[in-house]
Amino acid sequence: MRVVVCVKHVPDIQSERRFRADGLLERGGDDDTLNELDEDALEAGLRLVEAHPPAEGDDPHDVVVLTVGPAAAVDALRRGLAMGATTAVHVLDAGVEGSDALATARVLGAAVAALHAESPVDVVVAGMAGLDGLTSLVPAALAAVLDWPQLTLADRIDVDPAARTVEVRRETSTAVETLTAPLPVVVSVTDQAFRARFPAFTGILAARKAPVRVLDLAALGLDPATVGLQGSTTRVLETSERPERPDRVLVTDDGSAALALADYLAQKGFA
């Protein structure tokens, strides 16, 4: 089985995050990390192959971690290798900078297609969101780019290698569903069911020295006009730090706070 896990290197959510003057998020700080939700995606990918040990004579499984990002994003790949991924692929090209979610999906799609052409990919796994932009657009966009079925927000994934199908369980806002589709597919996973393993020390050491395959836009056959800022169909016009909420009240309860709060709510029209 060949699984590709899409991972993103993002500013630490606990750090002081900011936008640059050109409207792009400041990246590449020392605190940048592997998006936590992608750790769950990798965990899901690792469990998929572990559930089906290769038969004698079969090719070993391959769990590829794939990222699109600046040079520093290699750290996300190393973290993925430390957790157990077998291959790391980095799409690195100055032309990629400024890509919005859909342009990023085009790059990821081209990379998955290139890997698929070399040796078939069965499942692409993505996290439910990037903790930077929080759009959750990429998994569905990637499925559309590849024209593969999408099974998103899964909290259970079972592959049937013989039937070449995958079954997922998911919770939508209105229902709990079980869906199936033929391989290859794009799945995304929630943060509910795939609590990521902690890499072993030996894994961390090995990951430092493991090779990382670097691909640029030319290698993917991508026209630079279709990615980056110029290939994006959204353009950030302005970003600004939000002012603190004005007129904030903080009281310590002396037994009367509930009454004062009731007054406040009444004044706001809620009571």
Binding site: R18, A101, V138, A140, Q150, T152, T174, L237, R242
Partner: protein, 333 residues
């Protein structure tokens, strides 16, 4: 040149989801020609009451859509329907809600049409060049951004309550257009629904739509009853932090935050909630934030409009009782 804006109507059977009235109101501020898109299992479209409601909030027409051969709730199916509508009704903007499903529809549609997407918008305007510009809160509410859409089709998912639904002056029921009936694409047919169990209906408003949300965290110690009572006097919904749902104190569907439901109520009340950035990312568009926490250094006090340092087991029931007392006094007078 006149502009057409489409609004994807979220509905359960004949019942129109309240977000549709907000989206129609917003659409009206951007174009004279506002059409509602009604995707359903059959081609008959909305009933008279629903058409009346859609018309009251500004839809001049409603396009009934049936996609045959695939499950109507799947993203790919909805997108098949929308593409067929766009073939018949050229539009420059599609507005839809902001659930995970809405965002997936937006992503797929934009990829297949060369469109551009902004998710979780709280404002949409048109700039001097005729482009649609969406405003939103980002980085867990600490920043805001404005983003122009340059693609052929602008697709914007809009947060609930960011526009107040206002009826038109002289309402007329939306006229149902000729139904658009299309066959599902291979991508939609590839996915089979083995099982679907709808969530049980509740008497409280749904979390994503509620104007008031009372959220409980670890500080509740598992007792959500006082929060439910407060939510009921305020006519609101009950939400929770991930700690509370992980503990099994309340179902996962109640989780508010970046990996749970995104809410944008007019009033958020957090009880025993620390205000972690993961939580804040799902509620940063709340208009008024109230917090009860016994730790004066809890991060939630950094963004609460009204904070009480105190024990929620005392403050919450006392507040409920006081609100009830006032209501009864008003009813009695």
């Amino acid at each position: 040149m006149s502009t057409t804006v489409l609004v994807l109507v979220d509905h359960e059977g004949a019942r129109v989801h309240p977000t549709a009235t907000e989206l129609l109101t917003l659409a009206r501020s951007l174009a004279d020609d506002v059409r509602a898109v009604w995707i359903d299992e059959g081609p008959t479209g909305p009933d008279a009451a629903a058409r009346e409601l859609l018309g009251r909030f500004g839809a001049s027409g409603v396009v009934p859509v049936q996609v045959t051969g695939a499950d109507p709730h799947l993203t790919a199916t909805v997108v098949d329907g929308l593409r067929a509508v766009l073939g018949a009704v050229p539009a420059s903007l599609l507005l839809l809600g902001s659930t995970f499903e809405d965002r997936e529809v937006a992503a797929r549609l934009a990829v297949l049409t060369g469109g551009g997407v902004v998710t979780g918008a709280t404002t949409v305007v048109r700039d001097g060049d005729g482009r649609f510009v969406a405003g939103k809160e980002v980085l867990a509410g600490s920043w805001s951004s404005r983003c122009a859409i340059t693609g052929d089709l602008a697709v914007v998912t809009v947060k609930p309550h960011s526009t107040q639904a206002v009826p038109v002056d002289a309402p007329v029921a939306a006229v149902a257009a000729e139904p658009v009936v299309v066959e599902a694409s291979a991508a939609a047919r590839a996915v089979t629904v083995v099982e679907r169990a709808p969530r049980p209906a509740s008497d409280r408003p749904s979390l994503a739509d509620a104007e008031v949300v009372v959220v409980g965290g670890r500080g509740t110690n598992g007792d959500f009853a006082p929060l439910e009572e407060l939510a009921d006097v305020l006519g609101g919904a009950v939400g929770a932090t991930r700690v509370a749902t992980d503990e099994g104190w309340i179902g996962h569907e109640a989780q508010v935050g970046q990996t749970g439901v995104t809410i944008s109520p007019r009033l958020y009340v957090g009880a025993g909630v620390s205000g972690a950035v993961h939580h804040r990312g799902g509620m940063d568009a709340a208009v008024t934030v109230v917090a009860v926490n016994e730790d004066p250094d809890a991060p939630i006090f950094e963004f609460a409009d009204y904070g009480i340092v105190g024990d929620l087991t005392e403050v919450v029931p006392a507040l409920t009782q006081e609100l009830r007392r006032r209501r009864e006094a008003r009813a009695g007078s």
